[in-house]
């Protein structure tokens, strides 16, 4: 065991509800596509704010609307966010998002554009955001256990090096974090195909197993209902170039990230975990959508393994990118936070690789910027369940 495992403390921000975050964003949330201009307007005027423009939020209904609310409010509620301004064309849904964020105790304001126009709204929101940024800047980082964080993982542009090296490294890391009392998230329902039995068998209770199995089966039925299968989408062209031949092979590599722990819960899209330990969340396997769902559920740091070189980021959650593919590390070095290619050269073992990843998580959680943050990869990709009204 390396020295990194004595260094389990991070410097984070405690929020009003006791949750620990690792960033101190003032978030400008557009409720809908029409409000993107005002939100990005505020972002360009006020240093230290971040807007999350997106193409949705109008005429959504039922579970799709509820997921959109959960996603937008979840970003405001995330402990990496100090305070938030919500801007929407109409006041009522805008206020709904703000009310959900306010339940965490953090400062939030809701502004409707109708009756004021963009310019007055931008001015009002900017004056509010200026004060929020100054207040947030007073907040000091303090020492907490790494295990106080919610951490998520996903792989992308995977290849066989993911299944051989980077995903099993996350598996070892996840086992250690479970032992320390972390709250951990793992998803990617479509990319379990061929290996779903392993995840089902790791559910802590028969009821959870049934809940997970229904999520998986519902997804397979949805594909069948479209008269399709995912051949051609899964594995992707990038996966195939990297040597992955079938969805089963990709899935067996994917599940290495889960480690040996039992799952304590099976969560719906963007549902905030309530149990410490390893949680399954129903998600898409598309990188930005999946990380967006984890961020909305309160993840403070994301661990992303890549084979062929996925460059994804997130607006509020640092995405730590790990690769064991020497070609990717050589050709796309600016995107990779941790090079563990030595695993494939037999220079060190999985425990050592997991140790290096753990140390990098501690540094990242304490303020070290990730590649995605420096390169401004801030993909915000809400999951849409079906067509709007």
């Amino acid at each position: 065991m390396g020295e990194g495992f004595e260094m389990t403390k991070i410097l984070g921000y405690e929020r009003e509800n006791g949750r620990i975050g690792v960033r101190n964003h003032v978030l400008i949330i557009p409720l809908d596509d029409l409000s993107n201009s005002a939100a990005t307007g505020v972002e360009s005027l006020i240093e230290g704010t971040r807007a999350i423009p997106h193409p949705y939020g109008r005429l959504q209904f039922g579970p799709d609307l509820e997921l959109m609310f959960k996603t937008l409010a979840g970003f405001g509620r995330n402990p990496n966010v100090a305070s938030a301004v919500v801007i929407g064309i109409e006041q009522n849904w805008t206020q709904e998002i703000a009310d959900r964020i306010a339940k965490t105790g953090k400062q939030v304001e809701a502004l409707g554009i109708e009756g004021s126009g963009d310019l007055k709204t931008v001015e009002k929101a900017s004056r509010i955001a200026k004060k929020m940024v100054q207040d947030a800047s007073e907040k000091r980082r303090r020492e907490y256990d790494l295990s106080s964080l919610t951490i998520s993982t996903k792989c992308g542009e995977s290849d066989t090096t993911s299944g051989l090296a980077s995903n099993p490294t996350v598996g070892v890391l996840y086992d250690r974090l479970v032992a320390e009392g972390s709250t951990l998230l793992l998803g990617e329902t479509s990319e379990l195909t061929g290996a779903e039995r392993y995840i089902a068998e790791k559910m802590a209770t028969p009821a959870l197993k049934a809940k997970f199995q229904k999520m998986f089966d519902d997804y397979q039925k949805e594909i069948a209902r479209q008269g399709a299968d995912l051949f051609g989408s899964q594995p992707t062209q990038g996966n195939i170039k990297g040597g992955l031949s079938t969805i089963e092979e990709k899935a067996l590599g994917n599940i290495q990230k889960a480690g040996k722990s039992k799952f304590v819960d099976a969560l719906d899209y963007a549902e905030e975990p309530t149990k410490k330990g390893l949680n399954y969340m129903n998600t898409s396997s598309a990188a930005a959508e999946c990380v967006t769902l984890f961020a909305a559920a309160g993840a403070a740091v994301h661990v992303f393994t890549t084979g062929q070189g996925n460059i994804i980021g997130n607006p509020i959650v640092p995405v730590v990118k790990v690769s064991a593919n020497p070609k990717t590390v050589a050709t796309m070095p600016e995107h990779i936070d941790l090079d563990i290619t030595g695993l494939l050269r037999f220079e060190y073992d999985l425990d050592e690789a997991a140790d290096r990843l753990y140390k990098l998580l501690v540094k990242t959680a304490s303020g070290r910027l990730t590649a995605n943050e420096v390169l401004r990869h801030f993909e915000f990709a809400p999951t849409k369940l079906y067509i709007s009204a």
Partner: protein, 98 residues
């Protein structure tokens, strides 16, 4: 002989190249579960991350990696051959394209 591939489990019919393998090269692999060694001569060039057949696989037989079927052989595959989308196919998806 160079260590150029890894094998996830002892039941596996394929190994995974961890460095580019030339056609006709004598290469050694390591079993990840036991640390045991296997060696063979490659029949094709196998790029890093791609699979090499550890034994002959007949058309219609399941291809095993991680101790699990990852697909089915769509043609006879020689020991030492490159194993990929040209000679194996998913058991789950893509049946219509076969």
């Amino acid at each position: 002989m160079e260590k150029k591939f890894l094998v996830h489990a002892k039941q596996d019919s394929v190994g995974v190249a961890v460095a580019d393998i030339d056609s006709g090269e004598e290469v050694e692999g390591t079993l990840m579960d036991s640390g045991g060694k296997v060696s063979l001569r490659s029949q094709d060039a196998v790029p890093l991350g791609h699979k090499i057949a550890l034994a002959a696989i007949k058309k219609g037989e399941k291809v095993v990696e991680y101790g699990e079927p990852i697909g089915v052989a769509t043609e006879n595959i020689q020991k030492g051959a490159h194993v990929h989308v040209h000679n194996i196919s998913s058991l789950r998806w893509g049946k219509a394209s076969r």
